[in-house]
C-alpha cells in the first residue's frame, strides 16, 4: 500500500523535480513566508491599510492593462501583449490562496465540532457524524484515487457513499425546493393589483406551455394554421422571446453597469469594508 501511495505521488508530482534541491526550496519558502508574515504582523494598522490599497490597485492594474493593451502574435502561440505571459502564474497565485482557505475552513470546522464533541455540548452527535462522514469520504476517496489493489471493499464503500448516499441526499435536499415553491406560489400569486394579475397570467401560461396537459388544451388548433399562434406553447414562447428577453437584457445591462462601478470602487479602495472600519 505504501508503495502504491509513493507511486501515485510520483505520477502526480512528475512535473516537479523531487530532488533535495526541491525539498530545500520548499523549506526555504516556508521559512521566508513565516518571516514575512511575522514582520507584517508587527507593522502598524496604517501600514497594513496602505499595503492592502497598493496591492489591490497593482492587481487591478495588471488585469486592466492586460485587457486594454494592443495585442500581437506571441512566440508561445496565440495573440497577446507584453503582460499576457504573466497572466497564468498570477492567476495560479489565486489558486494558492484558495487552497489555504480550504485548510483554514477544515481547521475551523475541526475546532468548532471538536470542542462540541469533547465537551459533550448539545448536538455533539451531529459533530460526531461530521467527523465520521469526513473521515469515511477522505479514506475511501483517496484509496480509490490512489488505486489501492486488494482493497476492493474501499472502492465499493466509496461508490456506495458517493453514488448511493451523497448523490441522493444532495438531490433530495434540493428537491425540497419543490414543496416551498408550491406553498409560495399558492400564497404569492393573488390577483390584488393589475401588475399581480399580469404576473400570474404570464406564469400560468408559461407553466401550461411547459406541461403536456397545458399543451393538450389547445392541441385542437392545427399547428400550421393561421390560428397556431394561439396554441398555448406558442403563446408561452412568445412571452419568453418577446416579453422576457428585453426585460432580461435591460436587467443584464443595468447589473453590468453597476458591476463596473463596484469594481472601480474596489480597485481604487473607495469601498470601505468591515476590515478598515474596525482598524480605524
Amino acid at each position: 500500500m505504501i508503495h502504491q501511495f509513493r507511486h501515485y505521488l510520483h505520477d502526480h508530482l512528475a512535473t516537479i523535480n523531487s530532488t533535495p534541491h526541491f525539498l530545500l526550496a520548499i523549506a526555504a519558502s516556508i521559512v521566508v513566508f513565516a518571516i514575512v508574515m511575522t514582520l507584517l504582523h508587527r507593522t502598524s494598522s496604517q501600514f497594513k491599510k496602505w499595503l492592502t490599497i497598493v496591492c489591490t490597485f497593482a492587481a487591478g492594474l495588471f488585469f486592466f492593462l492586460e485587457y486594454v493593451l494592443p495585442v500581437h502574435k506571441l512566440k508561445s502561440g496565440g495573440e497577446g501583449n507584453v503582460i499576457t505571459p504573466f497572466v497564468e502564474p498570477v492567476s495560479n497565485y489565486i489558486q494558492y490562496v484558495l487552497i489555504w482557505t480550504i485548510f483554514l475552513g477544515l481547521i475551523s470546522l475541526a475546532i468548532v465540532h471538536g470542542r462540541r464533541l469533547f465537551q459533550r455540548q448539545p448536538g455533539w452527535h451531529n459533530s460526531l457524524a461530521f467527523f465520521l462522514a469526513m473521515l469515511a469520504m477522505l479514506v475511501t476517496g483517496f484509496a480509490t484515487r490512489v488505486g489501492v489493489t486488494g482493497l476492493t471493499g474501499l472502492k465499493i464503500s466509496y461508490d456506495s457513499l458517493f453514488s448511493g448516499f451523497l448523490l441522493n441526499l444532495d438531490a433530495a435536499m434540493f428537491a425540497l425546493l419543490a414543496f416551498y415553491i408550491a406553498s409560495a406560489a399558492y400564497r404569492a400569486f393573488r390577483v390584488r393589483t393589475v401588475e399581480a394579475a399580469l404576473l400570474m397570467i404570464s406564469a400560468l401560461i408559461i407553466m401550461l406551455g411547459f406541461v403536456s396537459f397545458g399543451v393538450s388544451l389547445t392541441s385542437w388548433i392545427k399547428p400550421h394554421s393561421g390560428w397556431a399562434y394561439f396554441r398555448i406553447e406558442n403563446i408561452s414562447l412568445w412571452l419568453l422571446n418577446w416579453v422576457n428577453m428585453p426585460g432580461q437584457r435591460a436587467v443584464a445591462i443595468g447589473v453590468q453597469v453597476g458591476a463596473v462601478a463596484m469594481a472601480l470602487r474596489l480597485w481604487l479602495s473607495l469601498e470601505r469594508g468591515a476590515f478598515f472600519s474596525k482598524e480605524s
Binding site: H12, V87, L167, Y186, R190, L208, S212, L240, N241, M245
Partner: protein
C-alpha cells in the same frame, strides 16, 4: 370554508404534493412533449457537428453541476451522450471548477458506453476536473493537451490516446461545446473562449429550469446555438434521441429504449418519465393558485354588501 381556501396550512400542501408526486412516479408513463425550438436547434447542431472518427474534431461536453441538480442536468447529460454515441461523434468530458461534476461526467458515459459500443480513449475521453482560473480559460483553447496533460481515468498523457491524435486547439479541433451547468460557468465560455475563435465556437447550453429565462438574449444573439431548459429540455431532447434510435435501429421498439426497460424504482434514467411527475406537480400548483384566488374573490364579494351597510349605519 372561504377562509380555508385562502389560507390552507402549508403542511397540507406538502402532504398533498408528496402524494401527487409519489402516485405520478408510480403510475406515470413517459410523456411525448412538444419539442422546444431551442432544443431542436441544439439537436440539429450535434447532428451537423463534424466530430466523426475521420473529421479530426471532437465535441466538448462540460458537466459543471453537482448532485443537487442531477435531476435536470443529469438527464440532459444522459440524453446528449446517447445522441453523441448514436451518431458516433467523438467527445471529451470535463468539469471546470466542479469536482463532483467531474465524477458524474465519468459515470454517465461509462454506463452508456457498452450499450453503444463506445471505447474509452478511442471514441471518448475524460479530461476530469479543471481549475477554472482566468489563465485556464485563456490558455486551454490554444493548447488542449498542454493544459489538461493527463486524462482523469488512467492518468496517462493525452497523446497516448487515439482520440487525441491531432487535437490541439479549440479553433481547429472542437466542433461544438455543450455546457451542462447549474452555475454561471457559461459566461466564462462565452466571454473568454468564444471571442478567441473565428468563426465563433458553437456553444450549446443545458441549464436548470430557473436559469433558462436569463439565457434567452444569448440565444437571440447567436452566442448560444441551442438550449435545454431544465427537465423539460432534457425530456424534449430525449424524445428526439429516442425517435432517432428507433429510426437507426429498425428492430428496436419503444419498450427496449432506456425509459421503459428499467425498473420503476430507478427513476432518474428517463427525463420523459420524470416529466410526467413534474407535469402532475405543475397542475397541482396551478390548481392551488386558482383555489387561493377563488377564495379571495368570493370573500371580497361577500364582504362588499356588509361594508355598504356599515357605511349607511
Amino acid at each position: 370554508m372561504l377562509h380555508l381556501m385562502q389560507s390552507l396550512d402549508r403542511r397540507w400542501i406538502y402532504l398533498i404534493l408528496s402524494i401527487v408526486l409519489i402516485v405520478a412516479l408510480i403510475v406515470g408513463k413517459p410523456v411525448k412533449p412538444v419539442v422546444l425550438p431551442s432544443v431542436q436547434s441544439l439537436f440539429d447542431a450535434v447532428e451537423k457537428a463534424p466530430a466523426g472518427p475521420t473529421d479530426g474534431k471532437i465535441i466538448l461536453v462540460s458537466t459543471t453541476f453537482a448532485n443537487n441538480t442531477i435531476g435536470e442536468n443529469g438527464n440532459q447529460a444522459r440524453a446528449v451522450f446517447r445522441h453523441l454515441m448514436l451518431r458516433h461523434k467523438r467527445f471529451a468530458v470535463l468539469a471546470v471548477s466542479e469536482p463532483v461534476g467531474a465524477e458524474i461526467g465519468r459515470i454517465i458515459p461509462t454506463s452508456l458506453a457498452k450499450r453503444y459500443g463506445y471505447v474509452y480513449g478511442r471514441d471518448w475521453i475524460d479530461f476530469g476536473y479543471q481549475v477554472g482560473t482566468l489563465a485556464f480559460f485563456k490558455s486551454f483553447p490554444l493548447d488542449i493537451p498542454g493544459n489538461v496533460k493527463v486524462d482523469a481515468v488512467n492518468h496517462k498523457p493525452l497523446d497516448q490516446y487515439e482520440i487525441m491524435r491531432g487535437i490541439k486547439t479549440i479553433q481547429d479541433n472542437v466542433a461544438l461545446h455543450i455546457e451542462l451547468t447549474a452555475s454561471a460557468s457559461l459566461f466564462d465560455w462565452m466571454m473568454i473562449v468564444q471571442p478567441m475563435t473565428r468563426p465563433r465556437l458553437k456553444i450549446g447550453y443545458g441549464c436548470t429550469g430557473v436559469m433558462a429565462a436569463e439565457a434567452y438574449p444569448y440565444l437571440d444573439s447567436g452566442q448560444l446555438i441551442g438550449m435545454l431548459p431544465g427537465l423539460k429540455g432534457a425530456a424534449d431532447y430525449e424524445r428526439l434521441v429516442d425517435e432517432l434510435e428507433m429510426r437507426l435501429k429498425p428492430g428496436i421498439t419503444a419498450d427496449q429504449l432506456s425509459f421503459a426497460s428499467i425498473p420503476r424504482i430507478s427513476l432518474y434514467h428517463s427525463a420523459r418519465y420524470l416529466m410526467f411527475a413534474q407535469n402532475a406537480a405543475h397542475i397541482f400548483v396551478i390548481l392551488l393558485i386558482i383555489l387561493g384566488n377563488l377564495g379571495m374573490f368570493l370573500t371580497k364579494r361577500q364582504a362588499k354588501p356588509v361594508s355598504k351597510e356599515a357605511a349607511n349605519d
